[in-house]
Symmetry: C2
Subunit: 118 residues, 2 copies
């Protein structure tokens, strides 16, 4: 039985979702951000450009786990200052909200760098 207090979920037009650009990027380099507990600074190659991305998954992953991987990034968000570093895209991951466990979404080796995700 559904709780009477459950809020109806708002539904959106797909066109609204599509205004966000997600792309496959290759993590060229990854280093821990000094004096932080879980920040990792990534250098991500999108083929036509390279960006700095700060990801907050350093409590569960080491920089070496990320380096060389092709993953998904949202690339048209406002840049964010995180621990004094400008993060120029957002890493997309899967997360179990019950346990807090983060799972990397890595794309196959054969997927070209920079391709669109939608």
């Amino acid at each position: 039985m559904r709780l009477m207090t459950e809020k109806a979920q708002e539904l959106y037009d797909v066109e609204e979702f599509w205004k966000f650009k997600m792309r496959v990027g290759l993590v060229k380099d990854a280093v821990r951000v000094p004096r932080t507990k879980k920040l990792i600074k990534l250098i991500v190659n999108f083929g036509d450009e390279e960006r700095v991305v700060v990801a907050g998954i350093g409590d569960q992953y080491a920089p070496e786990d990320l380096k060389g991987k092709k993953m998904i990034f949202v690339t048209n968000l406002k840049p964010k200052q995180i621990a004094g570093i400008e993060s120029q895209a957002m890493l997309v991951v899967a997360e179990d909200e019950t346990t807090g466990k983060v799972y990397l979404i890595t794309l196959d080796e054969k997927v070209p760098i920079g391709v669109k995700v939608w």
Copy 2:
């Protein structure tokens, strides 16, 4: 040199992106939609619910390629009638816009069904 006509890319707040719910779903069943060229009807299990999803990748993938896979779906879009079937979520894939080639984004076996992608 950048073309003078290039449009500045609009940037969005991450909070706006987060209103879209993406979840890992397990494709329990997949069948071609009769009398269509590229539609595949999926039955997707999200743990707490099951949904029908119509995906337009049947020109590049067979139903058997999808069945049993864990993939990413956007689950709070308005349902869409596609070839007379109500699609209740959208499959997220990678696509090379130059070649039109579609790449599946499959999650690791150990990723629990239904977890959030963000």
